[in-house]
Structure formats: C-alpha cells, structure tokens
Subunit: 423 residues, 2 copies
C-alpha cells in the first residue's frame, strides 16, 4: 500500500515509517519539525540523540532500499497539503501532525489558541484535500483516550447503544476532555466524523493510550534511525519520564495521590496497531473508532514497575509524588473497551517490565543529555493558568491554592498519607 | 445589572440591547459589523432598512435616556476583548458574536476555516479575558438546538443520566451537528464547559431554536431602531425567508420532503428567554444548558401557516418545495425538552400566526428591498461542496447526485408526490 504519514519526523511518525517499510509498504510523509522547536522551547531535548531529517532519510534509504518521499511544509497551508496528496496518491493517510501536549496547551492563551488553530485547521485541510485529491483514501487519525475523560461508566469504542425514556439509539459516547489539547482532539473527532457522513470519506479515529518505549526492532543498531524520546513536562509521557528520571537517579514523580488510571501501550504495540488499522480499512463513508492500548495501570503502579526493573539493573529508584499541577480526578472508575484491534489480530506484548528494561538500558546511555535538561523534569505549568514549579508533597511546602475538580466526586487532599506511605 | 453584548449590531444583539435597557439594565457592547459584510457577500441586504451604527446609537440614547457603551472591534483580538471587559465591568456577558450560518460555513474550505477560527478563537478570547478581568461574571453563550442533530431519542437540556452496563452517570448528551457552523457551536460548548470546570467560571449555554420575527415592542415606531431581517440563503432563517417570499409573491420553498422538524420561537420570546437567563445566573463554576424554543414544527407546517396568514392579508401564497441542498434526515423523531426556561418564568407567546401577520405587514413595506435581491432567495450552496442553484422538485429537473444521509434512516426520494400534493 501507499501510505502517507503527516508528522513523519515525530515520536510515532518516524518508527511508523520504518515499521511500514519493513512490511513492504511505500511510505511518504511531511513534517515542519515543530516538535523539535517545542521541546527546545521547554528547555529540553530528546534523550536519544536524534539526527537531522536529511541524515534520517539517508539512513532510511540505506536500510530499506527505498526512500521516504518527504516534503517539508505546514499542514495549516491547504495548498501544501493538497500538493502532497496529489503527488503521492496515498491509499492511507496517517495524521500524526498535531501539537500533542496537554500542558503546552494549558500554558496561556497564546499556546491554547495555537493548539486550537494548528490542530483543527490541519485536520480540516487534510479532509478538504482528501475530498479533492483522494476521496477513496483511508484517514487514520490519531486521537487520544483522553477524549473520553474519566466517566463513571465503561467506555465503549466511540459509540454506544443506549435506552433513554423508552427509546433506543446508537450515539457517539460523550467526551469530557481534560485540557485544551484534549479538547482539540474531541473537536477533530467531531469534524472527521462529520466529513465521513457528509462526503463519504472513510476514517479510523484512534483513541490511543499513553505510549512508552525507546525503540522498535526495525531500527536495528543504526543510531541514525533512533526515534525521539522526550522527558520534559510537556512532551514527555508518563513512563518515558519515569525511565529518564530513573536513569539519572532522579526520583520518579507521580502527580498527587497517584491513583489516576490510564491505558498504556509500548511503542512497538502502537506500531502494530496502526499497521493493523491501515491494512484493514473501513468501508467508504465509514467512521470507526478504535481504543488503542494494551492495559490499564495507575500511575503509581507504573512507577513501582520502573522501580523494580531499575533495581534489577542496579539503579536505586525512589518514588516521590509531586503536587498535582493538573485539575483531574485522582480516584475514579476506569474500564475502557479495547476489543476492535484484538479482533483484527493485535497481539499485545504483555511484558511491560521487559520493555522498561530496554528503555532503561537505552536511557542510561543518554544520561548526559537528560542531566543537561534536568530542570525540565519538574512541571511548572498549572491548570489554573499560573506558572510555578510544583513541590514534592512530602516537603510540607505551603499548600498552593487547591486544585479541585468540580462535580460529584471531588478530590480531597490525602497527599501526606500517601507520601508518608511511599517514602 | 451591567450587561455586555458581544455582537450588539446583530439580529438578536440589537433588540436585546433595547429589551434590557427597557428593564433598567445598563448595556454595553461591541461589534465589527461583519454580519453586514457577509450578507452583502451573499448579494443580499436586510429586508428592513437598518441604519448605520452611529444613527442606531443616537436613536437608542434618545429613546432610553442612556447610551449603549459601544466599541467597534474584533473579538479575535484578545487585547480588544480584555479592554472591553475591563472598561465595562459586566455582571453578564452575552456572546452573540459568531458567524451564524450553516450554508456560509459549507461553501468551501475558506469559509469553513474562517467560521472555525472566528467562532472558536472569539469564544476562547472571551473565556480568557473573563478569567483575567471578571471571573465572577456570567457568560450567556448562544449555541443552537442544531448541536444535538436529530437522534432517535428525547433530547434533554445538555445532560442526561444514563445506565450503561449496570453503572450510572450523568454525562453531556452526545452532539451530532449537521454543518461546519453547527460543529463550531459544539466545539464552543465543549470549550465553555471545560473553562467552567477548570477555572470556576459560570455560564448558561443556550441551545436556541430558529428565531423568527421583525420587531419587539421596545422599538416603538422609530424606524431607526429596527433590527435587521435577512432572507438570503445563508442568513435568512426559515420563517423569515418564508415571510419575505410571501411578501413579494415568491413561492415558499421548503427543502426536500419538508418533514424536517425544528424548535422555533418568536424574536420577542428569544428576548424574554435571554433576559430570564441573565437575571437568574448560575452559581460560580456552574455550566448549565437551556433548550430555548417555544414549539416544534415541521418546515412544511410553517409554510402552511404563512400561507394561511398571507391569505388573510390578501396575499396569494404558493408552496413549492426545492430539492434539498443539505444532507440531513428529512423524516425523523424529534422531542427535545424545554423546561428550564419555563421554570424560570418564561411565558411563551403561543400565537405564531399573529407574529407572522406582524412580520408580513412589516415585510410588505420592504418589498422593493427584497425584490432587489430576489436571486438570493434560491440556494446554490450544497452540502457536497458544489455550487449550483437548486431546482423546484416539481419542475422535473434532472436529478442531481443524490444527497443521502449515511446511517440507518436514509432519506429516500418521494419528492414528486409531495410536490404534486402541495401544488
């Protein structure tokens, strides 16, 4: 198949290009390298020493015997998107070209407005360009499990059939996202669903969990093929941050009471799932939703796993909760479905700790790069709009203004007990 | 109370200023007069001879003894919004400053992207400026009943409590909007709800039905105080268009089979409801949703009412269905709740035909202005993205490519029978 990856320079985009090329697919892609700039803006860098795009492309061609047909450009520019799709004639388009950080979007109005316009206009341009250039192509759109929030119900895959006052219908499952970034993903989902309904486009909307990992097999030992691994407050995801912290002897820092549950999956599983979605497209006009994760963990459980794996590698790993800069439920029900990808043949890795061991080994080689940006490990972006480093809860720091979630299940402060327990 | 109306030059904004001033409230407002430009872009004009803003403001001061504190500016400019709110110190902000037309947003990518950024960034700027300048103020945000679409269930007011797989939660009712414009309103609703949850702002999100009418009592006989009444394909709403058509002897033009049901309310009822929402604010941090309409009608029923009222005034009124340029369900269940405003004391007019008689009398005075833009009465903006005048279904015009809604209840063509019946 001919597969076009928007955001091919990113954490998922770059390994996806390799993963698909390894299966014999033709790969094209575009990127504006904004992710590199955003991470620099946060005073950080990729833990892995990623190469410039020209070096990456050269190494790719050497390894896979054919190029990534690459174009540098901005998907907020419709003519750029249209020319990319016209030139490449894709069977599938994977849209990974969005600003992906909750914290970055919550920084201030400028970052909120940038996230909103960048993500929405990019997706709208892709939809309009598909309609004009390749209406039969399949759009694989990256959403996030965070679109659903944490309702007190099981979370189906996108749609649910419900009875209400004696009637029945199948409706989109309500979304309750927890940041401006997550809101953009909800808006995108609504816009993509609408375009499929109106114009007969086809799309798979991936509600992905939190990805972790430093490598996939297709990279081999060629350092030029490494993907980026971020650990800063904005672009580092939970497990990647933990592993970067463990690698340099920094305590692992779950937020608040640490009971927040999320779906997680290794990078290699994310690649497997995206490939399955691409190779099994929906019917024309169909909009389908996949919940894409391997297992649900709470964030303290994951920290404890990293601690155990670190101990086996001779690392002394502490866990020290930070006050929660976010406004989110810290104790909640969480039971999302994830059957659609299993039905397509997804074979979960089911060995989180083995994956963590690989990550720690990789990141221990990058200690100097992580140490150089150590300050980026502790967040200062708060959901109330202020900007102030959060404190370890065990320090007895003066309590900041309380961050409570409105609604029936308020998070009440039990941080000290937890901190005492985990200390 | 001190009430700031964003979009005070508009169809609703201008009479709302009078309605509130008549109750003794202090009124401020801003506008960029984009609505005047959009209607001109559609080759049309207000049926009523509305005056320039300076003339309106002078007449307002003469009638109510105090001014509208007015500023001309663009709400996409945050510093403008912030300075307005800082200067006026409102108790309530009524946000009517959005691009309000489904057809306009469906014209092409440029109009879609404009609608998306204009509506979303305006609302985001207002939310951020409220947080900075007046976090206690009450945001009355105009949404639309169209956010819900036409599910096969009763439509509650914003939220519903449901059981699913043995658990129960109260969740936002799923939205299935039918145009890019309607999508922006859904995105806005999600963004406003999020800001209330995160920052403790308070808001009433008004899911308003289709408004009709040419006047409210507070205008008296001063022509300088008239509000605009549009009849073009983009900015004319159903009944206003019918009445403009009837006034010049043009047939009334329901779309397709004409069984589409919507909630409707007279302009004076819209004013009464907005006033009730403003005078009974929600608690800090509360986000509430009001479904605001008087009664549900199907669009053929309404055409027949205009026909009857016209006959009493000596007008010969024909009804001739047009092919439907939209992609929407033409036969569907529709049972939305509308109790919250009744609980606050809303007293519905309950005399649609009397209101129509007033409208026809007003619009018959404007025949020349409507005749001058007669071409704007027949739509050419189609939901498939093409631009081609739609034909009367009774003309036996070659059928255009079918506009079918995906999903279980497809609209099948029975247009000829209907046309034959109504001819």
């Amino acid at each position: 198949m001919r597969i076009y990856i928007i955001g091919v320079d990113g954490y998922l985009g770059w390994p996806l290009a390799m993963s698909l090329a390894g299966r014999g697919h033709r790969v094209g892609g575009c990127d504006l390298h904004l992710r590199r700039r955003w991470v620099a803006e946060m005073g950080s860098q990729s833990a892995t020493p990623i190469r410039s795009m020209p070096v990456r492309l050269k190494a790719f061609r050497e390894r896979f015997g054919r190029p990534v047909e690459f174009a540098k450009g901005d998907i907020r520019d419709y003519t750029f998107v249209l020319s990319c799709l016209r030139a490449f004639r894709p069977d599938a388009i994977v849209h990974l070209g969005e600003m992906p950080s909750a914290s970055y979007s919550m920084m201030d109005l400028a970052h909120c407005a940038f996230t909103m316009t960048n993500n929405l206009l990019g997706t709208l341009n892709i939809l309009h360009a598909m309609k004009a250039a390749c209406p039969e192509a399949h759009l694989v759109k990256l959403g996030t499990m965070g679109e659903y929030g944490t309702p007190n119900l099981d979370i189906p895959e996108g749609f649910f059939t419900i009875a209400y006052r004696g009637r029945t219908d199948t409706l989109p499952f309500p979304r309750q996202a927890g940041s401006w970034y997550h809101q953009t993903k909800v808006h995108d989902s609504n816009n993509v669903m609408f375009a499929c309904r109106m114009w007969g486009l086809r799309s798979t909307d991936i509600m992905q969990g939190v990805v972790f990992g430093t490598r996939i097999d297709e990279m081999g030992e060629d350092e030029r093929l490494l993907t980026r691994v971020d650990f800063d407050q904005c672009f580092g995801t939970a497990v990647n941050r933990y592993c970067a912290q463990a690698a340099i002897g920094h305590p692992l820092t779950p937020f608040g009471r640490g009971h927040q549950k999320r779906g997680f999956l290794p990078l290699r599983d994310s690649m497997q799932c995206l490939r399955l979605a691409i190779e099994h497209p929906p019917a024309p006009g169909e909009y389908r939703v996949f919940n894409q994760f391997e297992e649900v963990y709470d964030i303290t459980e994951l920290a404890q796993k990293v601690q155990r794996v670190g101990a086996r590698l001779g690392l002394q790993v502490q866990i020290r909760p930070l006050e929660n800069p976010r406004k989110e439920k810290e104790d909640h029900y969480y039971q999302p479905d994830h059957q659609h990808l299993l039905d397509l043949g997804y074979q979960p890795t089911h060995d989180t700790e083995a994956e963590m061991a690989i990550m720690l080994a990789d990141l221990m080689k990058s200690r100097a790069r992580i140490e150089a940006c150590r300050a980026a490990l502790i967040p200062d972006i708060r959901w109330d709009g202020s900007r102030r480093k959060v404190a370890f809860v065990s320090e007895g720091a003066p309590a900041p203004r309380p961050l409570q979630v409105n609604g029936p299940r308020r998070a009440v402060g039990r941080r000290r007990e937890l901190a005492a327990k985990s200390a």
